[in-house]
């Protein structure tokens, strides 16, 4: 059986994130993160093929190799400097990479929209060297000038102990890098089928725009094979619905 070389948005995003994770020895993945989780597993597979053992911890994962409970240990590991990459999202993300997981509107705490809460963001964003922001709905509603509640700030004054912080932002439209010294996002690539104009119109914050913005590279046939044969059954363990929807795959027995 040959596999299709057509790729889905999920496969593009996974591949894009995987490239951002090069050089990480330990990648941790939070709750509700099937695409980052798949990217971490793909990174691990690629590294292993060149003899490098990369560790992946997935909160909620049941396979012992990847399992972590999101309890004290995870945060202690971050404090010890043992986590190299993590993923965060935000109901709102602004141009200084501040993220908001709490709610929309003025008058906190009685905002007009309330979300779950900040989870571990206010700590992990400071402590993990490479934090990749990931958000599927790229619109002026999510990519805002200034967030209504700072769950975790993107940048900190020089005297604040901060070994970690934002590294990139991946959306359904594009890839931004974040320049910590300039405190700004910079557009790195636009996903196939989308344009710089569309990104600009969909983004509520100002960002650096190079003269030439390449297309985000599509997943290679080789990558697609690995994703569908190796990553899919592993990610189906914490994320059965996702694996079924994207790849029609169930968890390995």
């Amino acid at each position: 059986m040959t596999l299709s070389t057509d790729w889905t948005l999920e496969e593009l995003l996974i591949t894009t994130i995987t490239n951002l994770l090069a050089g990480c020895g330990h990648i941790a993945v939070g709750v509700s993160s099937p695409i980052p989780g798949s990217a971490a597993l793909l990174r691990r597979h690629r590294d292993l093929s060149v003899g490098k053992r990369t560790r992946v911890s997935i909160i909620g994962g049941a396979l012992p190799d990847f399992r972590t409970d999101g309890g004290v240990d995870l945060f202690d590991q971050a404090g010890q400097g043992r986590i190299d990459a993590f993923f965060l999202s935000g109901g709102q993300i602004d141009g200084k990479a501040n993220i908001n997981l709490v709610g929309v509107g003025n008058g906190y705490p009685r905002q007009k929209v309330r979300w779950s809460g900040s989870f571990g963001s206010a700590y992990l964003y400071f402590m993990v060297p490479k934090v990749v922001l990931f958000r599927l709905e790229h619109s002026p509603r999510t990519m805002v000038e200034a967030v209504d509640f700072i769950s975790a700030p993107g940048v900190s004054p020089a005297n604040v102990h901060r070994p970690g912080g934002p590294y990139a932002l991946v959306t359904d439209l594009c890839l931004f890098h974040f320049a910590r010294d300039r405190e700004r996002f910079s557009l790195k690539s636009v996903h196939p089928g989308h344009s710089v104009e569309e990104v600009r119109d969909s983004t509520g914050f100002d960002f650096d725009l190079p003269d030439q913005v390449p297309l985000t590279p599509a997943p290679s046939p080789d990558t697609l094979t690995i994703l569908r044969k190796t990553v899919a059954p592993d990610i189906a363990d914490p994320y059965p619905k996702f694996a079924r929807r994207v790849w029609g795959v169930s968890a390995a027995a």
């Binding site: 945060f75 929209v113 989870f119």
Partner: protein, 278 residues
């Protein structure tokens, strides 16, 4: 010490006074004492200060919906894959509960300070977050071991009550927590610990070296009640799965206050056990 065993979850719930600061564990269930939570609603407890360690789901949402809660101190209340927490979010927007936003490691660190009997614990991160801005119980202090190095000092969290569900307890009141070691922190930090359990372990958990390594001593356990299927609709690993239909029913009905009231009537209040003559 008195005998900690109680005849049922309603008697256990009676041990939780109005206004208690109560700590519960994790949004993902399994350790959520849901049967005891329904008993709390039946007994119409009022004014709880719920600390979620560090997050919570249906347990906190339904307590809020039933009007049992004054304050929620949390890193996140979420129904996970089922969506946002309807009653919690409604109550925050309406201002009918006080919400104290936190972040996961800060809840753990506060409880660990409670566990150690120290007044506070320092924690990295946090500075510049609106969490700190709105919390008048945090202090930013100078790291005494460095120059110009601000760090957040978190006050100890000492709950009146830790409440959770486990797979097994023994007749002495020892409780097996397994991989959920954070339950030990909760129990150590709290003044009283109330536990429901699936089944009784036949023997002394502390006499079995493998199980003892993950057992909470009865020293910390002030009340226990048997509650088979006591985490439902959450699943308990090795016992039963999430009751997906029940979660769906909740998510549909809890969309409105009226719907929630109907849910409570049907699934909580009607479940009152027959009261034995005393």
């Amino acid at each position: 010490m008195k005998d900690p065993f109680l005849p049922n979850v309603d008697q256990l719930a009676a041990e939780v006074p109005d206004g208690a600061k109560i700590v519960v564990f994790k949004a993902e269930g399994g350790t959520a004492a849901m049967a005891a939570t329904r008993a709390l609603i039946r007994r119409a407890v009022k004014g709880l200060h719920v600390v979620t360690a560090p997050t919570s789901g249906l347990q906190t949402d339904i307590l809020v919906g039933a009007g049992c809660v004054a304050t929620v101190e949390t890193s996140g209340v979420t129904m996970g894959e089922y969506g946002q927490a309807p009653c919690f979010n409604r109550a925050v927007r309406a201002g009918t509960i006080r919400v104290i936003d936190s972040t996961c490691p800060a809840v753990y660190a506060g409880l660990q300070a409670g566990e150690k009997g120290i007044p506070f614990m320092p924690l990295r991160g946090l500075i510049g977050s609106d969490i700190v801005k709105y919390r008048d119980d945090y202090r930013i202090i100078d790291n005494p071991f460095a120059e110009d190095d601000p760090i957040v000092a978190l006050p100890a969290i000492v709950p009146d009550i830790a409440l959770f569900h486990v797979s097994m307890a023994d007749r002495l009141g020892n409780v097996y927590v397994g991989r959920n070691r954070e339950l030990l922190i909760m129990a150590h930090a709290a003044r009283k610990t109330l536990v429901t359990y699936e089944r009784l372990y036949d023997g002394n958990l502390l006499a079995n070296d493998e199980l003892a390594a993950a057992t909470l001593s009865d020293m910390y356990v002030d009340g226990l009640a048997a509650a088979p299927q006591g985490a439902r609709p959450y699943g308990v690993l090795g016992f039963y799965d999430d009751d997906v239909d029940q979660f769906a029913a909740y998510m549909t009905m809890a969309r409105t206050e009226e719907g929630l009231r109907a849910y409570l009537d049907r699934f909580v209040n009607e479940a009152v056990p027959a009261v034995a003559a005393e």
